[in-house]
Amino acid sequence: MSATILIWSITVAQLFLLAAMACAVARMVLGPRAQDRVLGFDALYVCAMLLLLTFGIRTGTTIYFEAALVISLLGFVSTVALAKFLMRGEVIE
């Protein structure tokens, strides 16, 4: 019983997160200006991190957690670098 609940909720959650990633990719492709694309990329890596966490719950291992931690760390750095590039025209001055 609990296995059925867990499997179905994880499947539905993964489908929701995939749809969210598709929306973010659509914003990256459509985005009229560069800041919209960066915003779509920001939402995309957050959704990918959450998808990795749901994979971790599905398989019962904590390996996926470390991948999610690395994604959240590097995604922040990349978003800040892209925002600085949009503002100043270069990243490291």
Binding site: M1, S2, A3, I5, L6, I7, W8, S9, I10, V12, A13, Q14, F16, L17, A19, A20, M21, A22, C23, A24, A26, R27, R33, A34, Q35, D36, V38, L39, G40, D42, A43, V46, C47, M49, L50, L53, T54, G56, I57, R58, G60, T62, F65, A68, L69, S72, L73, F76, T79, V80, L82, A83, K84, L86, M87, R88, G89
Partner: protein, 137 residues
């Protein structure tokens, strides 16, 4: 899926609830990101996924691993704290960069330079105003 049968029903139900809550809120935020009209409306939408979206899925993961390993699994707090700290910083930097670009390109609908106190914008304007005109997108 061997571990899913080990999880008792009183732990599987909150796990399922928080998983669906978190992923549903993330999907709502992404739909808002797709459908809002201007950038300054769009910048609010993904925060739904990074606050309760990440929070719900991390709480579900904490419940699942705490019950499975029969000891407190608290390493998800690391991701939660990091996401909560970094999301406002990155989105605020992005919004300020977008505001700066709109001001230098004289797009309508944004407050002018004088409307706000001069911080980093004031010293950045003479240096890179010529680059912004050529770059466009």
């Amino acid at each position: 899926m061997t571990h899913a049968a080990d999880l008792p029903a009183w732990a599987a139900l909150p796990t399922a609830f928080f998983l669906l809550l978190g992923s549903g809120l993330t999907l709502l935020g992404a739909i808002g990101l797709l459908r809002f009209g201007s950038f300054y409306e769009r910048v609010h939408a993904p925060t739904l996924g990074t606050t309760w979206g990440a929070g719900g899925i991390l709480i579900a993961s904490m419940i699942c691993f705490t019950v499975l390993q029969s000891r407190p699994a608290l390493h998800e707090i690391l991701i939660a704290a990091f996401v909560i700290v970094t999301t406002p910083v990155s989105l605020m930097l992005l919004a300020r960069a977008a505001l700066y670009r709109d001001r230098t390109e004289n797009n309508g609908g944004v407050p002018a330079f004088e409307a706000e106190s001069e911080g980093t914008d004031g010293e950045a304007s003479p240096k890179s105003s010529d680059q912004k005109q050529t770059k466009g997108q």
